[in-house]
Amino acid sequence: MRALSARNRELLNLLVVGMLTGLGFASVYIARSEIVSPESLTYAAFFLLVYLVAHVVARLTVPYADPYLLPLAGFLTAIGLTEIYRLNPDDAFRQGLWVVLGVALFSAALVALRSDYRRLESYKYVIGFGALVLLALPAFPVIGREIRGAQLWVEIGPLQFQPGEFAKILLIVFLAGYLREKREVLAQGRLKDFGPLLLIWGGAMAVLVQTNDLGSGLLYFGIFLGMLYVATARLVFVMGGMALFLAGSAFVYRIIPRVEDRVTIWLDPWPHAQDEGYQLVQSLFAIAFGGFGGTGLGKGTFTTSDGTNLIPDLNTDFIYAALAHELGLVGIAAVLLVYMLFAMRGFRVAMLAQDGFSKLLAAGLTFGFALQTFIIVGGVVRLIPLTGITLPFVSYGGSSLLANFVLLAGLLLVSNRALAPRD
């Protein structure tokens, strides 16, 4: 076993993922053969090919990087693509294109930063400014676009994207550099040093108000608190930050009806089952109907007899419900385990990293990934108020997929540096 190099182990695991993809697509094909065509089976092969390309690039650029992150991400992308394909083959075709672009961006990031990603630290203020610009973009009149009440989109010509997804990555890089430099001062906890903390709290609240979306605000502020804790080991900052966030949220709850709706539905969706709470209630029914073993991939019921969708946004925000419906508790637990393993490997990269910037970067990227998963899964299963953010690697959507591929590249770069032999 020891003889297997990291990259060979990665290859082996990718082949297992390829087999899983094949089984998933075969199941969808057999269950829905009257709708989908046999050529669809080439999706699985094509998907494996794309990931093998990513593997070869990793082999050339980051030979010592963690061997499990890429296969785990591969599995998540595969199960997402399978489910999207099952829901809407046309969306799956577009998602397939996004996967190709994602792998291209992933490869570009690895090639560009393979020698030393730590030079990003010198550009931290430029990167932080970039994050702010991206966050503010949807608010601009001509290009900004509101979709279902949340101002998160930018539309330039035919191209639509969510700049917030990329802002997340830039914010993490900025915070890694900034906190690395300022952590000693911050750890002392003098009141005047809390300026930046309050500024970022204000920023998160502004994002929240401006986008009408609790989820993104929670995500950005959560990432900030998590990284602040990693940098200073002061639990009191996290407590204080959470108290501030709750206070801010309570205020926002009063002034923005949309947020108030979300909380009401969260506390008791049943009286609203036919209006505001319809989506959540249908999603809960879908999950419950999946039961222990699920209906099987391709066998679930997501449309009424006349073909209208029971759950709006099923392939983006609510894809977790679709997966739970078709894979059952056994399958969805495995999917959550894959998310946990990804987070575990990511935090391990943070542990192994030799310098503060790398540790903060790896911990921040992993924490952002894990928190985002928690926020959307928690929202769909009614553990916390529902907010529309994507399930990393699984949800339909180009911006999210591309950003997550960059995140993956970042973790591989840090782990390659940490594990490369220094002799």
Partner: protein, 165 residues
């Protein structure tokens, strides 16, 4: 939409088989990763939280939180006795090969990649790198990485090194 009855049963059976195969393979995949990860020997027993007062540990310079020390040559066919090697934050390798931090070409009992000293937070560890003749600490052959106490004598080939803080 509804296929003939006989065909529908065959389809259902095929789907159950695919579902079971999918789940079994998926859990095997997860189990394999969990198992290999738990066998990971290189994982240092430390947290990734940067603590106050460990300023240097966070910087790009040498982390002070990591135990350091020095190695003094007691006797060697390759090195001058009395020579000292500082152990800083990075691991130090010794062996006959020129790529080592401490190359000992003239020591004929040493292997090309012989042993490695690794300063960690809980002390300086020495590890044999699969050498032919083995690495010894105070006369006992190393079976697994071992933490050094000040005054320990490490033998690599015919070279004796003393570890001090």
């Amino acid at each position: 939409m509804t296929p003939p009855l006989g065909e529908s049963i065959a389809v259902d059976e095929a789907l159950v088989i695919l579902k079971v195969l999918f789940l079994v393979l998926l859990y095997l995949f997860i189990w394999r990763i969990v198992r290999t990860a738990s066998k990971d020997v290189r994982l240092p027993q430390e947290s990734f939280i940067l603590r106050p007062g460990e300023a240097e540990a966070a910087g790009l310079s040498q982390p002070s939180a990591i135990q350091t020390g020095k190695l003094t040559v007691l006797k060697s066919p390759a090195l001058e006795p009395g020579t000292t090697y500082e152990l800083d934050s990075t691991p130090l390798t010794i062996g006959r090969g020129g790529q080592n931090d401490v190359p000992i070409e003239q020591d004929e009992f040493a292997s090309a990649r012989h042993a490695r000293f690794e300063p960690r937070r809980d002390g300086v560890w020495v590890q044999d790198r699969g050498s032919t003749n083995g690495t010894f600490v105070n006369g006992a052959q190393l079976e697994r990485p071992r933490r050094l106490a000040p005054g320990d004598v490490v033998r690599v080939g015919e070279t004796d090194l003393r570890y001090d803080r």
